[in-house]
Subunit: 103 residues, 7 copies
């Protein structure tokens, strides 16, 4: 069996999942967001790279997604599944794990 | 990758989430609210800074939000995600974590 | 940031929440209710001070509330969020935590 | 604040709750029900004193109650909230905690 | 308060509950069912004595019951509430705890 | 009380339950299925002996069953209730515990 | 009882289940996906071999499946049931355990 060769452009999230490139930690950026060490649910900033088609409802429709490719998002650091691709950190999240669009 | 620069005005909560500026503790303000130390679920006062578009229902509509920007709200201290922005404390909450509008 | 000044009349509960003034303990009032020390879920008596607009249903309607301002209610002592206001004890409850109207 | 004076007739259960007067233990009544000590969920006998208006459904209707005042009922000893009123034991139960009508 | 006198014929299960007379253990009946000691969820055989009117659906109808008085049923030994009546063992079960009709 | 005499043909599963005859373990059958010892959820092969009428939906219809008598099925070894009948091993499963039809 | 002989082509997943051939681990493939050892929920790559007919909704319809035979998929390593068939590793997953299509 040949090894599967993956690249960022081939990742298509299913349902309401979102593929996010993790932003560098910026704990003390002037005027920027500060994520307190003792936060109950530590938030993280990232940029949306790919967006699923939306959750399928009982009557066969798709729920529209509220984020789009390019959005900067704030999400819980403990949510989703981490993936490393070509040396960069990515995370696959459900849209409900996105707290806010921040840019 | 450039660091993401955030400011309060760029934070757009998703779904039924609310962005709240945490009010200073006012444990013994005369005539004001007193939050007992031994309270089971310690409440906290804050001011609403941004409000999400509302939760998406199964049939694709938005549930209206009961709070608006500028409302003073009482919420559980143990709910939501803390965020520090330009030296001030904020919290991202779901509307269900808001107990009451208090001003 | 100025301290938020709160008074009882400004507290507007959200959804199906109810703002209740806790009645004095009356463990042995003649003919009155007696709350056994070994009760599994200790009930408490209070008076309704403010009532939320009702829970929002999926189709955007409000479920009517079964209690009104002035009702004496019995509720579980371990439910809700305690708040002290101008020296008096209050509690914010969901209507489902109200066991019965008792006067 | 005046003490709240309660009597049995003033107790109006909310929703699908039921106010039950606990029957005396009758562990070995001839021909009567015997509640085994090692029962997983110990049942108890009582008499219905007041019945709530029924659970409110999503479309604003009341679900009819299957028990009425005067029914003897069997319920789980570990369900509900105990209340003592004028020296007698009562319990506030949800209808789902009622196992059977027994007389 | 007079003791409540109960007999099998007076037991009317509520909702989807079923009143079952527990059959004697028959661990090694030839050709009969054998209940392994190491079974994850030990099944038990009994005979249906009384059947509730069925679970009430959201729109006020009763779901029909799949068992009737006289059916021999197989149920999980760890489900329901045990009751002893006139020296015999009974159990109050929800229909969902009935695994199969066996005679 | 006479002992209940059971035979395979009398077992009628309720709802979406399925009565399955457990197949002999075949850990290393050439070309056959191999169930790894360290599997998280150990699968098991069996043959469907009896099928329930289907789960009752809220509006009183039966959901059709996807397996039929005679199907070879793969199911989780930790699901359902084991029953021994005339020296053979059977298991009562919910259809959701069936992973796949394998023959 | 004859041993059940299984082959890949006979495996028909039920409902929303998917039969996936596990891809070889490729921890450091150049340009390929890298699965961090300390990932919270370790993802795994595989190829879809068979797809169930879709989940049955309450009104008797099938929800369409978002993956098809031949898709390369990313799924949580801790989801589903492992099966070994003719020396190869397979896994039976629910579609919700599929994070993304990756090729």
């Amino acid at each position: 069996m040949a090894a599967v060769s993956l690249s960022v452009s081939t990742v298509k999230p299913l349902g309401d999942r979102i593929f996010v490139k993790v932003s560098e930690s910026e704990e003390r950026t002037a005027g920027g967001i500060l994520l307190p060490d003792n936060a109950r649910e530590k938030p993280q900033v990232g940029e949306v790279t790919a967006v699923g088609p939306g959750k399928l409802t009982e009557d066969g429709k798709r729920q529209p997604m509220d984020v789009k490719v390019g959005d900067k998002v704030l999400y819980s650091k403990y949510a989703g599944t981490e993936v490393k691709l070509a040396g960069e950190d990515y995370v696959l999240l459900s849209e409900k794990d996105i707290l806010a669009i921040v840019g």
